[in-house]
Amino acid sequence: MNPDVMISYLPLYKDALFLTMRVGWKGVVIAVLIGLIGSAILHFEIPIAKTVVSAYIQLFRNTPLLVQLFFIYFALPKIGVRISPEACGTWGLGLLGGAYMTETFRSGLENIPKIQFESAESLGMSRGQVFRYVILPQAISSSIPGLMANVIFLLKETSVFSTISLMDLMFTAKDLIGMYAKTIECLTLLVVFYLIMLLPVSILGNIVERRLRYAEFGD
């Protein structure tokens, strides 16, 4: 392993890291927004919209991200919808994540005992007030562990972006290996940069989870 080679690659990896994080986090934000809206639709059992959301979840959870990206990147242009690799990655990740987030938030909502609704309603609160002040805060805290797991999963899934020529970490590593054959150096750097991106998220996740558990059981 040649440290000088690795140091010379650092700027390329840094650029790739920023791109990966930018696309990854944009995708995560879209996923969370879709998840909030989707789970509210399922929770309130809004007709038609409910069926659409269920179909969406099944479609995106049961097909690989790679296939979804290929569809967006290569198939949509054939019917006149052309988008940049970065937008494709963002939306691909966001739509996949949205399906997972919807499921996570929905189960968070389902975990709230029915009597919590009733005791809030019995105080005269409207359905909207019950949802906003009583149900949602509890659902969010019980969804946090699942949410964090989804975030890490989505950020890792960015590695398939290389297939649509988005210059993310994986693409950069493969490219450099292809050109200079410094396989060990490139792959080591790849691991290190994924850790730089994901370790803070994992650690933050653990802290949040521990605090939530204290909030439930300790004092």
């Binding site: 009597i115 009733e118 005791s119 309603e121 019995s122 105080l123 005269g124 002040y133 009583v134 509890q138």
Partner: protein, 246 residues
Amino acid sequence: MEKALLSVRNLHKEFDRNTILKSIDLDVNKGEVIVIIGPSGCGKSTLLRCLNGLEEIQGGEICLDGKRLQKNAKDISSMRQKIGMVFQSYDLFPHKTILENILLAPIKVQKRTRAEAEAEALKFLEKVGLADRKDDYPRQLSGGQKQRIAIVRALIMHPVVLLLDEITAALDPEMVHEVLQVVLDLAKNGSTMLIVTHEMTFAKAIADRVLFLEHGEIVEESRDPKAFFEMPETERARQFLKSFEY
């Protein structure tokens, strides 16, 4: 006779084609304490839940202050503010402090100012002996304490009728007393209450009227609780009371 505060006419409730309540007639007068007893599954909890609009009814009508209850959201909300309810499992909001639990509805539903509602909340907390716990979370309280808070949470809305649904059934025996004491004080101060309970001694002490329910019907109604608990008129009520003896 003065007009009933809450009146139920020919109430009918079905669930999956099973009749839970049939032709219930009931008038609740101001200041009256009515205790509803009966074997489990007789429909007594369901009756309270119907009065609060938590269960849809299939027939009959419920009138509060002479006004018939409608199904629309606005009506149900204003009715629920007038009819307070306390449940068996207290059901405080676990993510809010005791004070926030009590203040949520007065501020958000009745649009009262925080200062005014808080002053009243503290007065109530003082009365039930829990003023020092106002910043604690529900998980830090015992069952009996939680139930007293649940009562305060209902009272602060100034309900004209209070529905108590087996409020001591989930409590350890030594905590039953502290909760029932609060209810006895309310009765002394003229609160109108409908109480479902299995505490027969308590029922005898507090009731102005006793209803014995079985299979969704009022089998016996007595305006003389002492006499009822000594010797009910119906055989079924007699058998039921006997099941509490050892």
